[in-house]
């Protein structure tokens, strides 16, 4: 399913999107596969499948830990593409790959795009690939109708924001705070104002990630954005083996996002 179609479908139902990140291969690749299926049943709208990397500079302690352990299990793009191949038959919501650039670069950009297409991947998020360097991958993915998700954040200059928005597709990944991934008690005060003004100019849906772990945060964000992304919060519960609690939380977030939205 195309990301765009998912957002349109949700919009018609008056809902906002719940996007969940899973480090592929943590604690093992079978878990990732089965849990993705569970997530769809729980009402998650999209899944980001994290490709582990040895040097995840944008990630906090939780995802550093899951990346490292997944690598020790031998997870690589090859095993992740077989996972995607299996998911293609098992889930109908869009799934994306989230990676750092080097594993993709070594796989070969064209090869990577082709494999993504064949295994049903809808979008790609690369943590360390800003707009300026994204041309080759974007072009290659475009051939197959796969979105390269663009990041924006409050430090993005107006000049760059315009350029990035113009070329954006799928959704905008809005980084809520200055920092690495990981749950925060409080999100920056300016976030809602920033989102409000972004929504006025963006033709692409906006999803907010980094730091989100409470229903109250979701409740605020959904007023001004089209979705929330949860990663570290989810992986922390998985690390602590609190799967049932996690599902309950996700259901409450889902309900929060279903409610009337402005």
């Amino acid at each position: 399913m195309r990301i765009n179609d998912k957002f349109n479908e949700l919009k018609k139902q008056g809902k906002k999107s719940l996007i969940v990140y899973l480090t592929a291969g943590f604690p093992d690749i079978m878990f990732t596969e089965n849990f993705a299926v569970e997530l769809e049943k729980t009402g998650v709208d999209m899944i980001e499948i994290g490709v582990p990397f040895s040097d995840p500079i944008a990630d906090g302690p939780i995802l550093q830990h899951t990346n490292q352990l997944s690598l020790e299990k031998g997870t690589n793009l090859k095993s992740i593409f077989s996972l995607c191949e299996r998911l293609k038959a098992r889930i109908s919501i869009p799934y994306l790959l989230m990676s750092y650039y080097n594993p993709v670069y070594q796989f070969g950009i064209d090869n990577f795009a082709k494999e993504c297409f064949q295994t049903g991947v809808s979008g790609i998020i690369i943590a360390d690939l800003p707009f300026e360097e994204s041309g080759p991958l974007k072009d290659s993915l475009k051939t197959y109708g796969i979105d390269l998700i663009s990041f924006l954040t409050f430090t993005t200059s107006e000049r760059r924001k315009e350029k990035i928005l113009k070329k954006s597709s799928g959704f905008i990944y809005y980084i809520s705070l200055a920092g690495v991934t990981g749950p925060r008690e409080q999100l920056p005060e300016r976030l809602m104002d920033d989102l409000k003004s972004l929504k006025e100019i963006s033709h692409t849906p906006v999803a907010v990630g980094f730091g989100i772990s409470y229903a109250a945060q979701v409740k605020e964000i959904k007023k001004y954005a089209d979705g929330v992304i949860m990663g570290s919060f989810v992986m922390k519960e998985i690390i602590d083996n609190k799967i049932e609690e996690l599902k309950k939380s996700l259901i409450s977030f889902r309900e929060e996002l279903n409610g009337e939205s402005k």
Binding site: F53, S54, D55, P56, I57, A58, D59, G60, P61, Q64, Q68, L71, N76, L77, Y100, Y101, N102, P103, V104, Y105, Q106, F107, A127, D128, L129, P130, E132, E133, F151, L152, T153, T155, T156, S157, R160, I175, L177, A178, G179, V180
Partner: protein
């Protein structure tokens, strides 16, 4: 054309592969750097502190006894005589002064052996900025004396226990800090690595080495050198020496990497000799990695060379053939460490001993009148204890 280009590229290498949050701070740094270095005041300050505080210019010393052993005319650029004992101070005085001009109140740095950490802590003490240094847990144990030096200088040393617990992970952690602290904090990268503008900025603060060398050598020999030889970890001392000779096509550039236990093992840090292009720490350059693009652990007897990446301009020099890169293994570096100490009374840093060793190993190829400049990038006092332990003489 002057490189890097406006995208921060040296040919295909370099660039800005950074998380979105850092794009604006990097742009800001580039802009402020370009403005600041034009200011007469900044240049005057920089010159003053490099001369009066760091002890520049450093001597270019004709190593007579060593030359006789080699059968060529060998000069040593005495960066070991710069304050804090290595070339690192050139860059940190430049960057910390820049940070002060940018009205930052804090600096952070990554360090492997602790040399860059000490040099940053020194400049931070001098200019009155708060300083936090990230250092791998493994390196903290190997270089406890430098940890104490940084503390004496009023800096805070933060132990990094992620990944391989060495320089690469210290750099990851410093970047993570900077992602949240950039408004008041300047990140002092210690080598010609990282996202643009760092490779350019660090190079420009280090080219004082090559500029002085050129002037000093022309005065003594009335001609340019045949060889410039320097060790390459991230590549700042070598780039600082090479760059002012870039257009002197007859001057051969030799970069010497840490060969560790040998290039046929996995225990080395010879990124340019054995690596392949990849993206690490914000730029595209040669990297030691596996087929999946995961970064390899490295090994070198010298902590300053123990890094799986290298500055993008070196990758460019390798591709264009402007420089040649070789590796010297741990044992040969140790032999050179002793030989230079005995013949010249100069104990070189283990890093610099790699460059000395390459000259020893290749003495057959030099002619009597060949002029060779070795960058003696640091002094060996910091390594004395480790060498004694390795050799069982302590």
């Amino acid at each position: 054309m002057k490189l890097p280009d406006k995208y921060g590229k040296f040919g295909i290498f370099g660039g800005k592969f950074a998380p979105e949050t850092l794009m604006s701070p990097l742009e800001e740094l580039e802009k402020r750097y370009k403005e600041t270095i034009k200011s007469g005041m900044f240049r005057k300050d920089l010159k003053y502190y490099l001369e009066v505080y760091a002890g520049r210019p450093t001597p270019l010393y004709f190593a007579k006894s060593f030359s006789e052993k080699i059968g060529a005319r060998v000069y040593l650029k005495r960066e070991d005589m710069a304050f804090t004992g290595a070339h690192k101070i050139n860059n940190t005085i430049g960057q910390v002064l820049l940070a002060k001009y940018m009205k930052k109140t804090r600096v952070i740095a990554e360090t492997g052996a602790g040399q860059h950490g000490v040099a940053t802590a020194t400049a931070a003490a001098l200019f009155g900025l708060k300083c936090d240094v990230y250092m791998g847990e493994v390196d903290i144990k190997r270089q406890s004396l430098n940890v104490y030096r940084m503390k004496l200088l009023g800096s805070n040393v933060i132990s990094v226990s992620s990944g391989t617990k060495t320089l690469k992970d210290a750099m990851n952690e410093a970047m993570r800090d900077w992602i949240s602290s950039f408004e008041r904090t300047h990140y002092v990268i210690g080598s010609v690595a990282g996202p643009h503008p760092y490779p350019m900025l660090v190079r420009n603060f280090q080219i004082v080495i090559g500029k002085e060398t050129k002037k000093q050598l022309l005065k003594i020999e009335k001609k340019l050198p045949d060889y410039l030889v320097a060790c390459v970890g991230g590549g700042s001392n070598s780039m600082g020496l090479f760059y002012p000779f870039e257009n002197d096509r007859n001057v051969k550039f030799i970069g010497v990497e840490g060969g560790g236990k040998g290039l046929d093992t996995n225990l080395h840090s010879a990124t340019l000799c054995k690596g392949s292009p990849g993206i690490l720490h914000g730029s595209l350059s040669y990297v030691l990695q596996n087929k999946d693009g995961q970064i390899h652990p490295t090994h070198s007897i010298s902590a300053g060379l123990d890094y799986p990446g290298v500055g993008p301009e070196h990758s460019f020099y390798k591709e264009t053939g402007r420089a040649q890169y070789f590796a010297v293994n741990d044992n040969d570096a140790l032999k050179a460490f002793h030989l230079l100490s005995e013949t010249e009374g100069i104990i070189p840093a283990l890093e610099s001993a790699h460059a000395v060793s390459w000259v020893i190993n290749n003495k057959e190829k030099f002619r009597q009148n060949d002029i060779i400049v070795i960058n003696l990038s640091g002094r060996g006092d910091k390594d004395v204890q480790e060498v004694a332990e390795i050799e069982g003489t302590l």
